[in-house]
């Protein structure tokens, strides 16, 4: 069950820590015996880092970078970012991809292609902190800790403070 948050720019309050606890509950329910958690850099990677600790999972948390498969490369150029790191065999794996915000679906498309460069997974699902609507591709999250409607003029991104706690940053684009 997702927490529904209604609101607009000025009044919208997204408590990232509360949403994280909701996400932890959701991820726990989605975990199978051999599920591998993989975070999309950078927000999703932070989530997976913390989920790994809170769920007591072994191994290094997986990271997926969208940089090499972005569809806006021609407009935005090359951005340096964290690198993909997958310390398990992707072939046949049960993978749960984590991201902070699900919006157009283009990042998810890019990281799926990135994932396939490492092998053919058995099953891939998606869980996010916030689904903000505005999809431009047929992509859906298995679990979202919150679903909100944000206008295209606003950008929403997760930030991590020095003590490791999460905050959402809403900006007027």
């Amino acid at each position: 069950m997702s927490v529904s948050v209604a609101g607009t720019a000025g009044s919208l309050v997204l408590d990232a820590e509360a949403l994280y606890r909701e996400l932890l509950r959701g991820v726990r329910s989605l975990m199978g015996a051999n599920t591998q958690l993989v975070g999309v850099a950078s927000g999703g990677a932070w989530l997976v880092e913390r989920l790994h600790k809170d769920l007591g999972l072994p191994g290094t948390p997986g990271v997926l970078s969208s940089a090499l498969h972005r569809d806006d490369f021609a407009q935005r150029g090359m951005a340096s970012s964290a690198q993909t790191q997958l310390d398990f065999d992707v072939n046949g794996a049960d993978i749960l991809v984590l991201d902070d915000v699900l919006y157009t679906g283009r990042t998810v498309r890019a990281v799926l292609n990135e994932l396939y460069d490492y092998g053919r997974p058995g099953c891939v699902r998606l869980a996010v902190l916030v689904d903000r609507g505005g999809r431009e591709l047929p992509v859906a999250a298995e679990f979202a800790a919150a679903r909100v409607a944000l206008p295209a003029s606003q950008s929403l991104a997760l930030a991590r403070t020095e003590d490791g706690t999460f905050q959402f940053e809403v900006k007027e684009a």
Binding site: A67, M78, Q83, Y116
Partner: protein, 322 residues
């Protein structure tokens, strides 16, 4: 040549890299961005699919007016790993030999929808001329021009140094050999200075070190033992055989006696010093076989990193419009 330009011809008005012509005048930010981007590409070799789609549908033309099998091959591999279509032109047997001018050649290839020209030319400045001439969406990467610059070699040297030494600020780097004719030396010196290396030295016989070197902010040594003492990085340069005929050196044996890097001499550098060489190596001339094959040599890593660095350069310039 430079007086023709109001701003750095490698950058667009937003300060983004659109051509790579030289490491001179590139900011620390841009150099670091290239090295960081390259680190994204180093592990592409470890994937099941050793290719990324960033240059899919783009055409890369390798224009080597001067021969270099290795450099051309690494550019070709880099472009193919980025999913570009690569065309190697056999310039020596093509229209240039029939009298076509450089810019006419470029116009014709542009009409064949080239997106990136990788240019090696014996004349310093040829890539500048091409960069100035091409349409805004076309990019030029200098793969070595005359004695002037070899920026991708300079950048892959920086990548290698950063890989082994992490930080430039405490490094003492010696560039040894035929500095006079070396475009690699110039590209290395500019990059090392910008990235903040503590000390850059050039070491070589008086006939092979330009007299104005000190103006580039380097220390000049004409004695190898003194020059490499306590260094963290030694970059040996190829002694170009063709120089022997020019009365600059008595003989290659004589050169090895004074400036050949041997295991014994290497002991004068720091114990964890790395030894680099841009290739091709002349064993027993500028460097002893035992050093080439020894634990401190990182020469083959340079070749591997060179592919990632060239991928980074091509993907960065291709993503920026003039």
């Amino acid at each position: 040549m430079n007086v023709l330009y109001k701003r750095n011809p490698q950058l667009n008005k937003n300060g983004e890299l659109i051509h790579l012509l030289t490491t001179e005048g590139l900011s620390k930010g841009i150099l670091t961005h290239i090295l960081d981007t390259a680190s994204n590409f180093v592990n592409v070799n470890d994937r099941e699919v050793k290719k990324v789609p960033l240059l899919r549908g783009k055409s890369v033309f390798n224009l080597f007016f001067e021969n270099s099998t290795r450099t051309r091959t690494t550019f070709e591999i880099a472009a193919k790993r980025l999913s570009a279509d690569v065309f190697n032109l056999d310039i020596a047997r093509s229209s240039t030999a029939k009298g076509e001018t450089l810019l006419d050649t470029i116009d014709n290839l542009s009409a064949m929808a080239a997106d990136i020209f990788v240019v090696r030319h014996s004349e310093s400045g040829a890539p500048y001329l091409i960069a100035q001439h091409v349409a805004p969406h076309v990019h030029v990467v200098n793969a070595g021009d005359g004695r002037h610059a070899h920026p991708t070699q300079g950048l892959l040297d920086m990548y290698t140094i950063r890989h082994y030494k992490k930080d430039f600020s405490n490094l003492r780097v010696a560039i040894v050999g035929d500095v006079l004719h070396s475009r690699v030396a110039r590209s290395d010196i500019h990059a090392l200075t910008t990235l903040g290396a503590a000390e850059v030295r050039v070491v070589g016989p008086r006939t092979l070190v330009p007299s104005d070197m000190a103006q580039m902010g380097v220390r000049v040594f004409h004695n190898l033992e003194e020059g490499i003492k306590d260094c963290d990085v030694i970059i040996t340069l190829r002694l170009q055989n063709e120089r022997m005929s020019g009365a600059l050196l008595p003989s290659s044996q004589e050169y090895f006696k004074s400036f050949g890097l041997t295991e014994k001499r290497l002991e004068l550098a720091k114990p964890d010093a790395i030894v680099m060489h841009p290739g091709p190596i002349n064993r027993g001339v500028e460097i002893d076989s035992a050093v080439v094959d020894g634990p401190q040599a990182v020469i083959l890593s340079q070749v591997t990193f060179g592919i990632a660095v060239r991928m980074a350069v091509m993907s960065i310039v291709a993503g920026n419009e003039a």
